[in-house]
Amino acid sequence: MNDLHDDVLEQRLRVACREMIPRLADDGTVADGDTDSVPWSDNPGDSQVVELDAFRQRPRRSATPVLVGAAAAVLLVVGGLALLQRGDQPAPSAAANGGVVAGSAKAFSFTTPTVSLSADSISVIDGDRSFSPTNAQVTSEPSGDKHATLEITWTEGGAEQRIFMFFTSDGTDWWATEIRTYDTASGEPDWHEPIATGTFFSTPLGSAYTGDLDLPNLRITGMTLQAFLAPAACEAPTAPIALVADYPNIVAPAGGFGASLQLIDTATCTGLPVASYTFDYTTDDPSVALIADAGWPNNGSMPVEATTVPVDQSGPTTTVAPYFETRARVSLQLVAPGTTVIHATVRDENGVIVGTADMNVTVTETPQQTIVSSTAPVPPATQP
């Protein structure tokens, strides 16, 4: 099979872009809550993602002290698998309703502010080789109450290994929509394909999923997994308000890094609007990382203006979802390899300190490829 000629490929790209991109945001006048109707939204009932038959998750009974007869257990497992084969969500395991298995000592245990994973074994299968995470960097991308990630990265056999899981929630249940591992066997390392997409681990919010996972490139046994963990400050509150860093451990190469923090009402475990608070940031070692911009809400009147911009030429002024209201933002400049701590302090309108939080920063060697900063964009010489 021949590859496309350059001019044919370019023409196809031009046509596809011009035909498809306007459909992505067809009118640009987005009302509040309209994102729920986005055709490729991750609403499980609206999913267009292809379920791969080869991928199986095997929910299993946990070690919780609930005894069920062998026949019932077999029926449960068979029933769960049958559901899986139809592409439906599996029945929650016993532990899924009861939280983490008590007294289990797992060989692997990873916890971020939003996701926890423990397991008896974790293997990334890459051809005839197998890799298991040791000395791994573990992070989560907090993306509000609808999205979260678990990102496990380590080096083994001289190659970078990754396990990434992407979670979503509808406010009642949480589940994973995608599971990725890294392909180091090929000449150009990239994600293993096909990427596992679908609905995995569907479990009520506040509960953990237990079971095994068996994908072509990833096997996990004795797994206990929970996403969208409640902030730790809510578990044993010591003050009415807690300041929680979305990125308590930052590991990144030199460049810009946009960090964020939440003010949590520990009684209700919900985020508080940060507009009336003042955030101060200091760094232990400015030669490693410094504060580039104290960000929102310290600087500017952006939120007031941005929530009242008109959405079209003729219509009335419309409020745009104030997604930023409950998160303070700070732009860090990671300067040079090393470690430091960024201290955040929040004061109320009376100047009283109501919370503090630390962000441990490790600046790594800069990778070969430039990573574009999300902060401080500067204007280009040309206009579109």
Partner: protein, 170 residues
């Protein structure tokens, strides 16, 4: 490149920031005239409309924070939208969370197939492809827009086209 070193940014010492009223008016006009275009651009890169909305909102918010220090607000917004879209995807790794568009969106299967291949690209490569083939920017213009070295744009586009050729056999 630093903000201070960029001639397109006026500092307060050179020109006083616009008044709040005129700044608000200009931003409103800019928002009306360009939001749709930037929303499409961000959506094409992030493949997630809600994230794209945040990216565009952030870009306008960032522009407003500059308080009249930007001489080329459209260019500023474009760079901000593209870079932030890539950054969001890099950090959230959600590029392939929606790897496939709805099948049969157009009457031409070739268009659907081509766009599906574009959505499978890494965000950086997709951004360059979109800027090149949707906005018809030259490689030099893309480099200028994104603040990348020209060689980086060239190699990124080369990698993207190589992947696409593999995905789209003749």
């Amino acid at each position: 490149m630093t903000e201070l070193g960029d001639p397109l940014i006026r500092r307060a010492a050179v020109a006083q920031p616009a008044s709040r009223a005129s700044l608000s008016l200009d931003l409103d006009a800019l928002y009306r005239s360009h939001r749709q275009q930037f929303l499409r651009l961000a959506t094409a890169i992030t493949l997630d409309r809600s994230i794209a909305e945040e990216v565009v909102q952030d870009a306008f918010a960032s522009l407003q924070r500059q308080h009249g220090e930007i001489d080329n607000p459209v260019g500023y917004l474009q760079r901000s939208v593209v870079n932030h879209s890539i950054s969001v995807i890099r950090r959230r790794r959600t590029a392939a969370r929606y790897p496939l568009p709805r099948p049969g969106v157009t009457v031409n299967p070739e268009i659907d197939e081509t766009w599906a291949a574009v959505t499978s690209l890494p965000a950086r490569e997709r951004a360059v492809v979109v800027l090149r083939y949707w906005l018809d920017l030259s490689e030099a213009d893309i480099a200028s827009c994104l603040g990348w070295p020209a060689g980086t744009v060239k190699s990124t586009l080369h990698r993207a086209l190589k992947r696409l050729r593999k995905e789209l056999p003749q």
